[in-house]
Structure formats: C-alpha cells, structure tokens
C-alpha cells in the first residue's frame, strides 16, 4: 500500500493497531473506534498525533464532538461498491467541521479518487505500482462539476452565473 496525501506520495507516520493491541507509549497512532471510545482520555494525553478508523458500519456522528482532538480520521471502503463513506466524508468535513487528514482506506480504486477528493478526502491508501501517475491521471479526468460538494471547486451553475455577471 502506498499513501498519497495532499496529492503527494508520502510515508505513513501512523501506526495502526487493532482493538486487542496494547497502546504504545508514543508514536502517531491510528486506532479503531472502540479503542478511541474506551481509552480517549489516555489517547489525548499522548504527545503524538492520533487518528480513528471507522468501518463502513460506524456512523461518524459518534465522533462528531471529538473531531478537534483528532489529527486523522480514516474511513474504510470494505469494497469499492460500498458508498457510505462518501456521505460520511461530507458530514465529517461540512457538518462536524473536521479540518485534519481524512483518509480513504480499503478497496480504494483509482477510478474513484476524483469522487473521493470532492467529498473531502485528502489522503488515500492505494494499491498501485506507480500511484502518482495513476493519481494524476484520475485527478485530471474532469474539469467540470455540476455539484458544489464542500471542496473549493466551483460548480457549473455558479460559474455560469459568474459569466453572466461579467457580460
């Protein structure tokens, strides 16, 4: 797995633990929701970055009040067909106001990256030999969007009105 964050290849500083693993004393850590809920007091006092991984069954409203304490939220795609995390991502960004790293993990396909970026993901674990080339190809597919979806790209309707005002 390779990690792309903010459109660059990067190393993944987060160590991912499962529910049964002990919590290491230091180092950036990505934990399952249950660990966050059971041990958050301890986790927030650690000096290093902390992230929570949500499976596709875990609605992010359970951490809606915690987002300021988190550096990373990772959303899992158990299969590329499971589109729940697209809605989760928008809620996390637009409703709960999370500004940190929002990462797509699991069955993340090249062809879906443009959708994921638009709903608020800014990092991606991709299974690819040449992730940057793949990423750039996919990211460049479209220059026009009909929907405003919380990212900084303008939707066609507002661009149309802007053109009209210039006339």
């Amino acid at each position: 797995m390779r990690l792309i964050k903010d459109r660059r290849i990067t190393t993944n500083p987060f160590h991912r633990i499962s529910a049964d693993d002990p919590i290491p004393a230091d180092g950036a850590l990505l934990v399952p929701l249950i660990v966050w809920q059971d041990h958050w007091e301890r986790l927030v006092t650690r000096p290093d970055p902390i992230g929570v991984l949500l499976t596709s069954h875990e609605h992010p409203e359970v951490i809606g009040d915690d987002v300021d304490q988190l550096d990373l939220i990772a959303l899992e795609f158990p299969t590329f067909r499971d589109g729940r995390a697209y809605s989760y991502a928008r809620l996390i960004r637009e409703r709960y106001g999370f500004a940190g790293e929002l990462r797509a993990v699991g069955d993340v396909l090249l062809e879906q990256l443009h959708y994921m970026e638009r709903v608020g993901f800014n990092s991606f674990e991709i299974d690819s030999e040449d992730p940057m080339i793949d990423f750039e190809t996919a990211a460049k597919d479209f220059s026009v969007w009909y929907q405003a979806s919380g990212d900084d790209r303008s939707a066609a309707a507002s661009l149309r009105q802007a053109i009209k005002r210039d006339d």
């Binding site: 709903v119 929907q147 066609a156």
Partner: protein, 559 residues
C-alpha cells in the same frame, strides 16, 4: 429543448476521453473484467447474451431530429441497423463491439448525447411525462426541474455508489403519464392551498421482484427546494439502505422496513440542515434553463377539427388514428401526435435506422425538429399543426408507423427478454408479437378500448408487468418458459399492482387467455367503463373462471 453549453459539453467530452482510456486498459489486459465491469456499467455498457448492449440516455424523453439521425447512423455503422426504445425513454443498441464504444460515445457527444449513468448503482436517466410542456391538463412544464436534477445527479461525488440503482420520474400534470408512483422518487406537481405550484414527493415505489406503490413523504414542496429534498432522501438512503443483499437494496425496502413516518423523520431532519445551502436553486439558473423549454413560434392557427369530418368519414383509418393517436394540444390549432412503434407483429419499441431517418425528416417538417420518447416505447411529435395532420398521417402510414393503437391492447410494453437479455427467463418479444397480431383488427381494438398489456421476461420487471392492466411475466419452470398473468395493474395517478390470475401458461396458450379475459370484460362492462374500471368493480374471479374454467384448483397451483 435543452442545449449543452460549454460546461455540459466539456464534461461529456472528458467522459469520453476517460472511457477511451479505460477501454484501452481493458483491451490491453491491464484491467480485469471484474475491475472493468463497474466502469462500463456506469457508461451504460452491458454484456448481454450475444454482444454488448449500449444504453443511450434520452433525458426525460426529449430528442432532436439531429440526434435521431445520429442514432440512425450509429445503428447502421456499429449495430445491425436498428435500435430499441426503452421504458426509461432511452435507446438501446444490442449488437455493439467493445472496441467501438469510445467512438460511438464521441459521435454521441457531438450531438449533445451521452450514456453516463444509464446503468450502475446511481441515479439513472430521469423520466417525465412525454407530453410535458404541451399537455392541456398540465400545471407547469416539469422539464426545467428534470434538467436541474439531471445535472445534479451526473457524476455526483457522494451518490455514485448507492446501495442500488435509483430512478426518478416527474410530471407536471394531475393525470400521470410518467408512472411516478413506481419510482424510487416520483415528483408530481400540485397547487397548494394558496394556488402555488409545487411538487408532491413520492418515495419508495418500484417494480422488480418486490413491487411497491410509492408513499407520499411530502404532500407539497416549493420547486426551488426540490434538489435539497432529493439530496436529503439520497443521503438517508446511502447511509441506511441495505448493502448485504442485492435483492433488498432498493430504497423501497428501507422505506418499508422503517415505515414512512420514521423514514420521513430521518429525511426531514437531514433536510433542515441543507435546505438553505447552495442546493437551493437560484432563480437565475432556473430561468436560464427554463428558457430552453419556451414554446416554439407557432403559426397563428385555430382549431380545425370540424373540417376533418369529411376526411374522417371517407377514410376510417385516418379517423381511427385521430381518435387513438392524436391528443389535444394546449395551443389552439396544434395537436400532439403519437407515433406507434407497435405495428402488429413488430417488436415493441424497435425502429430501423432508415425509419429513424424518415421520422427525423418528418419531425423537421411537421414538429419544429423535435420529438419525444414515451415510457410506453412510442414516439411523439408534440407540435403538429392540425392542418398538417392528414399529410403527416399519410407519411406515417407509408412507414408502418400509424397503427391506431396508442393506449389500446396492441400498444404493448415488452422488455427485450431472452432474445437478448442475460437476466431473462423467457422470451417477451414473441408473446408481444402474437398478441399484437391477435389485435391487428382495428375495429376490435377500438371496441375493447383502453387496455395496457405489459410483458416482462423475468421478475426484474423491465416490461412493467406489475402495472399493466394485464401483466405478463415470463418464468422458467424446469427449463421451459411459462407466462404468469396478473390483472388490474395501473401506473397512472391511481396506481395499483396487478393481482395474480393463476398458474403460468405455456406461450401457445397466452393469446387465447388474453382473448378470454377481454371477452369477460366486454360481457361485464357497463357503459363507458374501461377494462380497469370493470376489473376494479367485479374483481378477479370472473376472469379466473374464464381462463381456467370451473376447475379452479388448477389456478391455485403455483407455477
């Protein structure tokens, strides 16, 4: 009709480029069929029994003569010289090669057409009343909202991987010609108590193996909030719709599981958060799009129906055609003309490339260069001068496109069935042809009156059999094709699902059974009653007795 601007055109062109790359990767073996499948499906490309099938969107059924000529060209160059109009007002080509698809899409893009999301678990082509903007009973033309919803749904980043496909239909008229109650979301225009037009929102209708009549989630909503309300529904569905079982993944299952009250509460809670965001449609954008749907420049004309009386008397075929295929227009001196794609013995919805070209010419000559596709798989010219009706009729007659059967027994909806479709259990087309020939006599047709016969080759119900006055469902019983009949279905404003008549019949017995059903109706009907009205009054038993005889035990056997 709507025309692409630079944004629409760029997006469609970019989609073609993207798909060309994906097809190349597939053909080079860089991508497996498993990886490629969801990509081709999102572009309307299915792998059928014999070849690829490509489904082309006709947005809410509106088509220009130029576009129809391009479809004719594609049919000739890349297919076997014909195409098939579908119940989603789309057009399908059945004999496509994968390697040609990027070129076909590029040819479509040149005439402002595309295949995006005509398949896949996303929002599909939005359908509408095929008389939209012209019908006398209409409150307002719904197409501006159709177009806004089309744009909203295309490549929607949040809702492109829904639990299952998602279908919307709109009508601006109280008489529902768009079957809105059997859609995932149906929007039907009403006035509120102040006389303001708005949409009733119906949710969770659908056909398939679990047919459901949709429920009203909101009796009236201001049109400018339509997109935010649809988004609230889509978000609730995306979050809570079932993903563990493909047969239970449609929104109707979620609505039924939660109950409409709880579903409404979830949607309304979500909607409160988003109703005043930029999902609210700005008046300027509404007006920009609405301008495309302005009425054409009609010649000043008056109704001349009475002048037809001599012609009608002299030519009974013209008279029959006027009565069944021509509909009143909201503008004096004009008429709405339905072009039947159901000539006896023909495949419902099929049209040859040569006839597509001729129809395009006629549209230019008689109807401002535009036409519509109806969900009943016919074509419509919506702006014909009454003074041109006789000439147009003669032209259509010479093309075998003037069968006077719109809304009558031989105006059959049929899916492609086992002749093409990989999902089908049985062949729909031969049944449709048999019944069509059976009702070839126009006098008999007129005598029977309004009667919809809908045929599906499997329980996925693409042929809308649940909502046919007579529904016919093909089933496979130990390797043999049988056909189950249902009665009393309807997709209009009083929508209902058909009741099962009895055990399945072999193909050879179906036309005789239809005959018995029709005879039972004719014997029982009161003055002016349609088949559906008689059926609702007398119930299924007389029909059951007629088809299965007194030995009703047979009818209780499950096919």
């Amino acid at each position: 009709m709507y025309r692409y601007d630079e944004f629409d055109q760029t997006l469609v062109n970019e989609r073609v480029t993207q798909f060309r790359r994906q097809v190349a990767r597939r053909l080079d073996g860089e991508m497996s069929e498993d990886q490629f499948k969801p990509l081709r499906l999102m572009n309307g490309l299915y792998l059928q029994l014999h070849a690829y099938m490509l489904r082309i969107n006709v947005p809410y059924g509106c088509l220009s003569a130029t576009q129809l000529r391009r479809l004719a060209h594609i049919a000739r160059r890349y297919d076997k010289g014909f195409g098939h109009f579908t119940t989603r007002q789309n057009l399908q080509f059945n004999w496509i090669s994968l390697i040609d698809t990027p070129d076909i899409m590029a040819e479509l893009a040149e005439v402002e057409m595309n295949t995006m999301q005509s398949s896949g678990n996303c929002v599909r082509n939005i359908t509408a009343d095929h008389y939209a903007g012209r019908a006398k009973d209409e409150i307002e033309d719904p197409r501006v909202w159709c177009e806004l919803l089309r744009q909203y749904s295309i490549l929607n980043p949040e809702f492109s991987y829904l639990p299952r496909k998602f279908k919307l239909a709109l009508t601006g008229a109280p008489n529902d010609r768009a079957a809105v109650a059997v859609h995932d979301i149906g929007l039907r225009m009403h006035h509120d108590e102040r006389g303001q037009p708005g949409f009733e929102v119906i949710v969770g209708g659908g056909q398939g193996r679990t047919p459901v009549i949709g429920k009203t989630i909101r009796p009236w909503i201001e049109p400018q909030h339509v997109i935010s309300y649809v988004e609230a529904i889509l978000r609730v569905y995306n979050l809570y719709g079932r993903r563990d079982n493909i047969f239970k993944a449609r929104i109707k299952i979620l609505v039924n599981a939660l109950g409409i009250e709880q579903f409404r509460e979830l949607v309304d809670t979500e909607w409160e958060q988003i109703r005043n965001t930029d999902l609210r449609i700005p008046n300027a954008e509404r007006d920009r799009i609405n301008a495309y749907f302005a009425l054409p420049e009609y010649a000043t004309a008056e109704d001349i129906a009475t002048e037809f009386s001599a012609l009608r008397a002299a030519e009974p075929a013209f008279d029959a055609w006027l009565r069944s295929n021509v509909i009143e227009h909201k503008v004096a001196g004009y008429a709405i003309v339905n072009i039947s794609l159901k000539a006896p013995g023909r495949i419902p919805g099929d049209l040859s490339a040569d006839k597509m070209d001729r129809v395009a010419d006629l549209a230019d000559q008689f109807s401002f260069g535009e036409l519509r596709v109806s969900h009943r798989q016919n074509l419509t010219f919506v702006d014909v001068r009454q003074a041109d009706l006789h000439t147009l009729w003669q032209q259509l007659e010479s093309l075998e496109l003037a069968t006077p059967n719109i809304g009558l027994a031989s105006d059959i909806i049929a899916c492609p069935g086992l002749d093409y479709c990989a999902l089908a259990n049985a062949r729909s087309i031969p049944i449709a042809q048999d019944i069509g020939l059976h009702f070839a006599d126009s006098e008999k047709l007129q005598q029977v009156g309004n009667l919809t016969i809908n045929i599906s080759g499997c329980m996925n119900a693409c042929g809308h059999h649940h909502v046919g006055n007579i529904g016919i469902l093909g089933v496979d019983k130990r390797g043999k094709e049988f056909f189950q009949l249902t009665l009393g279905g309807s997709s209009d404003e009083n929508a209902s699902l058909g009741d099962r008549l009895g055990r399945g019949l072999p193909q050879a017995e179906v036309p005789a059974a239809i005959e018995l059903i029709v005879d039972t109706y004719l014997a029982a009907r009161r003055d002016g009653e349609t088949f559906l009205q008689t059926y609702r009054r007398i119930g299924i038993n007389p029909f059951r007795d007629a088809v299965y005889g007194a030995d009703n035990n047979k009818s209780r056997q499950v096919a």
